[in-house]
């Protein structure tokens, strides 16, 4: 178990290196003079020079990359051009907000996705299955930023149930938090719930066709035990492994959703950084988000390793 965890962590090192290299290389994608693009059309020659100084663009390439990695190892992701504060501080500042909404959204996803997926599989090819399948399909086909706008029109403009945007911290007012986060969480959950429903359904169908399910029925066990214990235990494992994917999709969505709902989280921070060409912030954000996702994936894999006796016990022998 410890050996497995360590080996997974070791495997992550080259990936992390490549991740940071890609983030570093992003600046070199900029066609022409990077400083002009970053500074924008109104920037004066002095402004541009300052940007170049700040980002070390005047240095030779090898110095740029060494100082990038030296700083990275010291936990220094540079200074944000737009905020003027260290990138890491800005990220740490905004993370709890996004984390809260993500957990909210993830709960909706898991409850909805698992239940619909299982119901669909148990009613294979019947009406309920078709309805669930259709909902899942719509979920993965609707643009979520559009849904976010429609939700605002319906529930804020017409019904007035929720504010059109903004954010109230949970510590200030739990009700206010719920009011400001419910629509974003639902808009975010739609896509993942669609994904999870589809994955759960196909996994359940696969499991239900296995020999050991037939054995469980032949033993005379009730259908409830057969499905609720024998099948579910086997369904949960592959479903756990897609959690990493779902989190990644969730963070993808949070950029545009947080911008639309005007929520000061990590997503809108990244969105605004990109729009204002704040490259140190973009680089830092990309690296820290990718690193946390990698880490979460390792946690999920270790969890899977621990859950599945077929893997766990083989490695002990």
């Amino acid at each position: 178990m410890i050996g497995y965890t360590v080996s997974r962590l070791l495997q992550a090192i080259p990936i992390l290196f490549l991740v940071s290299l890609f983030a570093f290389g992003m600046i070199y994608l900029i066609p022409g003079d990077a400083a002009t693009v970053i500074g924008g059309p109104e920037a004066s020659a002095a402004d541009l020079e300052e940007i170049r100084q700040n980002m070390g663009l005047n240095e030779p390439f090898y110095l740029q990359i060494t100082s990038f990695y030296t700083n990275l190892f010291q936990g220094d992701l540079g200074k944000s051009l737009m905020l003027g504060t260290p990138v890491l501080d800005a990220i740490i500042d905004r993370t709890p907000i996004t984390l809260g909404i993500s957990i909210y959204s993830l709960s909706i996803t898991i409850i909805f996705g698992l239940v619909t997926g299982i119901i669909a599989a148990l009613n294979h090819n019947k009406l309920l299955d078709q309805i669930a399948t259709l909902f899942a399909l719509i979920g993965i086909s609707l643009p979520n930023f559009w849904l976010a706008l429609i939700l605002i029109v319906l529930f804020s403009v017409h019904l007035g149930w929720f504010p059109t945007g903004g954010y109230v911290a949970f510590s200030e007012s739990p009700i206010g938090w719920l009011k400001t986060t419910t629509m974003p969480a639902v808009a975010l959950a739609l896509l993942q719930a669609g994904l999870l429903t589809r994955i759960t359904r196909s996994t359940m169908l696969e499991v239900l066709s296995q020999d050991y399910i037939r054995t469980a029925r032949a033993k005379g066990l009730s259908e409830w035990v057969v499905v609720g214990q024998h099948a579910l235990a086997n369904v949960m494992m592959p479903v756990v492994t897609v959690l990493g994917l779902i989190l990644s999709v969730l963070l993808s969505g949070s950029i545009v959703i947080e911008v639309i709902y005007n929520i000061p989280g990590l997503g809108s921070l990244m969105g605004n950084a990109i729009l204002s060409r704040d490259f140190p912030l973009v680089q830092g954000g990309l690296i820290s988000i990718a690193a946390s996702l990698l880490f979460l994936n390792i946690v999920v894999d270790v969890l899977y390793f621990w859950l599945d006796p077929r893997i766990r016990i083989k490695s002990r022998d």
Partner: protein
Amino acid sequence: MQSHIEIDAVEDEPTGLARFYATARRFMRNRSFAIGAVLFGSVVLVTFLGPLLTDVSPNALSMRNRFQPPSFDNLLGTDNLGRDMFARVIYGAQLSLMIGTSVVILNAIFGVMLGALAGFYARLDNILMRIADALMAFPAVLLAIGIAAALGPSSMTAIIALSVVYVPRTARVVRSSVLVVKELDFVMAARASGATDFRIIMKHVLPNSMAPMIVQLSFVFAYSVLSEAVLSFMGLGAPPTVPSWGILISEGRAYMREAAWLTVVPGVAIAITALGLNLLGDGLRDVLDPRMKVEEG
């Protein structure tokens, strides 16, 4: 002495046109595929026949006709500058389909090449898959937005950004199916006969690894349409002069109270296109390879 020939007749295989019809019937018998084909087919049809149906230019201003709700003259109403939404949505469709098709073609070329190499040569596998892992460690839209921001807004940018995002995913799908196929006995038989690696990959491995890739490509098409909308909504895709679907939604956003159709119509267009492609993908998966697992992401 000659051993007995098995008596029962082998089914006759149709040839030429009859074979095409038989295959088409087999595909259309799958409900997902049929509905998906009809949905996506109508989007394509309207996109290319639409300009013949309406002589209105998507950028023709008409300040007297601002915010007209859908009517016989303006099938989908007009926007804040009196431009005809029907014409604008159709031109947006052309852009979406062009970008989607380009991304799919790039995925088909590079995804297959890299996936086949990684799957077939264990030595390359490690390097190629670590690179893919690193690219896939970024959330898809975040990476696309980041690349688009660096390259500057244009349709080409969207194509490149989305290809960088989805090629590693396609390569993974191809790789895993190559890994399975290359262990099958007929590949072993070809090796035992002295076939070169190139011949084995081209004649034996790739033709039998295509099914999951075709399915994957239809999903990539759907994701591209959706992600391109996000890019242009954020102002990172096509320039604002081009009526892309994402830009239409972003423009309509300001008038959601008075003229909801400006936001609803392009959103529905995106949803129908993506739904059609997703259904097509589901159908293809069932018809081409019923044993295949759901591959999302």
